[in-house]
């Protein structure tokens, strides 16, 4: 599995190099080898998203207008390769809006979004579909499984769009389902699965292409604590293998797994707390015994209290 994933990653990488060469002719030496280290996976500058116009305008992202300049400041965010970021904030604070833009599912009203150094705004429809397919694994707040389709076919779908052969596709989809503990549910349709199982199918679908980046919008929002631990364990392991993870959560218990916690209020980042180094293993895997022994309230007592 590990080997399959890394070989897949290599292929995805070449795919994106092709993309980069087409959109923004890069200098001879690629940024990864440059003196300033690898380009950040995510680099967001002055990002804003508004819905509607006139009096009915909703500023979902970027905060309220600056009283002096008139324009809102927008969101700035840099996420390094291998980081594990939890995004928190009250309902309606713009978390999903940010996530959808990061996942190339939506376009910002203004601002720049560089994914692996490529300006996403300059990509055409076809290149965007390649990016979504090869670079990003997206887990939705509301599962979003294809209706009336068995779990195995769900998970095979991204591979089918990537042009992977049927036998190879099936093998990798089965491996991904086994990874999330659903080896015995491969023939079940979404309406025959529990909420937690559906969410795990969605996670399997997101990681089956071995994307460099996993974006998860409240992946544990509908799960009990047992399933939450299962899903988080999968995500922790993915991060430990070098994948960048951004997840949205309302729970401190979940945020504890991340290396870095962002807090959004009214479409702006108001706090950014680092809990572990970006290039090490995630907190839960660094010292499992200590992590398990730690009272969940300790974190929310300090970080949560300070940020509120």
């Amino acid at each position: 599995m590990r080997q399959a994933l890394s070989s897949r990653l290599g292929r995805a990488g070449t795919g994106l190099h092709r993309l980069r060469a087409r959109t923004a002719p890069a200098p001879e030496a690629p940024e990864e080898a440059g003196p300033w280290g690898p380009a950040p996976v995510i680099e967001v500058r002055a990002l804003r998203k508004t819905y509607g116009t006139g009096d009915a305008v909703v500023r979902a992202l970027g905060g309220p207008p600056d009283p002096a300049g008139g324009e809102p400041a927008g969101v700035d965010l840099v996420v390094e390769q291998g980081d594990y970021v939890a995004v928190m904030g009250s309902s309606g604070s713009g978390k999903s809006t940010l996530m959808n833009i990061l996942g190339c599912l939506d376009v910002p009203t203004s601002g720049r979004y560089l994914l692996d150094g490529i300006d996403v705004g300059g990509l055409d429809e076809h290149q965007l579909s390649l990016v979504r397919n090869r670079k990003i694994g997206f887990v939705f707040q509301s599962f979003n499984l294809v209706p009336r389709t068995p779990a195995l076919a769900q998970v095979e779908l991204p591979l089918a769009y990537a042009g992977v052969k049927a036998a190879e596709r099936r093998r990798r989809a089965l491996a991904a389902l086994a990874l999330v503990g659903l080896a015995d549910r491969v023939d079940h349709r979404p309406n025959e699965l529990s909420g937690g199982q559906q969410q795990r199918v969605a996670v399997a679908r997101a990681l089956v292409t071995a994307p460099a980046m996993l974006l998860a919008d409240e992946p544990t929002g509908n799960l009990d604590s047992r399933s939450t631990e299962d899903v988080l364990a999968v995500i922790d392991r993915l991060n430990a293998s070098g994948r960048t993870v951004v997840l949205i959560t309302h729970e401190d218990e979940v945020a504890r797994h991340a290396k870095r916690v962002l807090r959004l209020v009214d479409g702006r980042i108001v706090a950014d707390v680092r809990q572990a180094a970006a290039d090490g293993p995630p907190p839960a895997l660094r010292d499992p015994a200590a992590f398990a022994g730690h009272a969940p309230t300790a974190l929310s007592g300090t970080a949560g209290g300070a940020l509120r």
């Binding site: 599912l105 939506d106 990016v131 939705f140 294809v146 009336r148 089918a160 042009g163």
Partner: protein, 402 residues
């Protein structure tokens, strides 16, 4: 993604909602089958009329009394008589005429052994009538010129008359009473069949003087049946008839004739005109049913795509290129219309093997291809249009779609 894969997705999509796919297919099927069958019925009926007119013989000319348009009506209209027929039979003045048969018609009640039957047409004529009117004897024989000369009370009867009076028994040699006069049946005609208003098989044919003596009196005849020497000679024969009868009727002005000469050919062309109208009407009805089938596909595809916009969003979110999504939906609607159209062609061809309201349908090959092509084109266009719209949405827009 290769086309086979896209096709597999499409089949999966159709199988996911079997009832809806089935009903859509049924709509197309009915539309296509209706076009094929209705046009075949129209075509078949014009064919059968053509056949039955051709059965009468294309060499035949019918002379009937009465002027054409603009003719002065009234006392100076001379009726057709046996003398007129005799004049026409003279080869010197009418070399292109082979036979002449004056004809009187009446309707009488025939009785045999207590069974009575009203005969549609009792015809008094000469033996030449049989050949000219394409009436062939099936059992027994025709009456002869000798029977005519001696006014014998003999008759040849049509097959409907025969079955009504004699049942399955052979009528030949039996005596029946028509309008109080006893006749001996000498022959029975072969069944002609027909789609006309009057049953051509409900008839009794007897020597002219016998019928005149018994029923109509020795006055004018109803019409004179003339046979030209060949199909090519009918026009010349027609001119000769006009000349001869203008002489016997004492008419100088060719625009004021008191008789009419009509050929089977002119009858044929009017008939086929009527039939063309009939076929066009049926075609219009068929086209409407195809249109309704097409609207069915369009509606289903619109509903399907709208309902599945969320699914399209999901597929786009996990990296489906627009082309693949479009391909899947196009393949779905094309499969539906291909299958529906194909089954419709089969149903149409099977349906047109049966006789419908007495008409044997004759399939027009162009209608098969046309209906099938239109069904597929509608599927492609109206399936592609909404799918294209949905595939063009941003994933998040599609996902939020209600």
């Amino acid at each position: 993604m290769n086309p086979v894969e896209i096709l597999r997705f499409a089949v999966g999509g159709l199988a996911a909602n079997k009832v809806r796919s089935g009903l859509t297919m049924l709509g197309v099927l009915i539309g296509v089958a209706a076009v094929i069958i209705l046009l075949a019925v129209g075509n078949g009926s014009s064919q059968s009329v053509k056949d039955s007119i051709e059965k009468l013989g294309t060499n035949a000319l019918t002379i009937s009394s009465g002027g054409g348009f603009g003719a002065s009506s009234g006392s100076d209209t001379k009726p057709l008589t046996v003398d007129d027929a005799r004049a026409l039979a003279d080869p010197a003045s009418a070399p292109d005429i082979s036979t002449v048969a004056p004809e009187v018609t009446t309707s009488q009640t025939a009785v045999y052994n207590g069974t009575s039957h009203t005969v549609g047409q009792v015809v008094g004529t000469y033996p030449a009538y049989f050949k000219t009117s394409n009436s062939k004897v099936d059992k027994g024989d025709y009456f002869s010129a000798d029977d005519v000369l001696n006014s014998r009370k003999v008759a040849v009867i049509g097959s409907t008359t025969a079955t009504d009076l004699f049942g399955t028994a052979s009528p030949v040699g039996k005596k029946l009473v028509i309008g109080g006069t006893p006749f001996t049946v000498v022959g029975e005609l072969a069944t002609k069949g027909g789609t006309g208003f009057q049953d051509p098989d409900d008839t009794v044919i007897a020597p002219l003087p016998t019928v005149q003596n018994a029923f109509t009196g020795f006055g004018p005849v109803s019409q004179i049946l003339v046979e030209a020497k060949s199909a090519g000679a009918t026009t010349r024969a027609q001119n000769e008839i006009t000349t001869v009868l203008m002489g016997t009727h004492g008419i100088k002005d060719p625009s004021a004739l008191d008789f009419r000469v009509s050929s089977q050919q002119s009858l044929l062309s009017t008939q086929s005109d009527t039939n063309k109208t009939f076929t066009v009407l049926l075609g219009a009805v068929a086209a409407i049913s195809l249109l309704v089938g097409g609207i069915g596909i369009t509606n289903i595809m619109l509903v399907t795509v709208t309902e599945r916009t969320r699914e399209i969003g999901i597929r786009k979110a996990i990296g489906a290129p627009r082309g693949v999504i479009l391909g899947q939906f196009l393949a779905e609607s094309t499969l539906l219309s291909l299958l529906g159209g194909g089954l419709g062609v089969v149903a149409g061809l099977i349906g047109s093997r049966f006789t419908i309201v007495g008409i044997k349908p004759v399939v027009i090959p162009a209608s098969v291809w046309g209906a099938f092509a239109i069904a597929v084109a509608i599927g492609l266009f109206f399936g592609g249009y909404p799918a294209n719209r949905a595939a063009g949405l941003r994933p998040i827009e599609a996902l939020r779609h209600e």
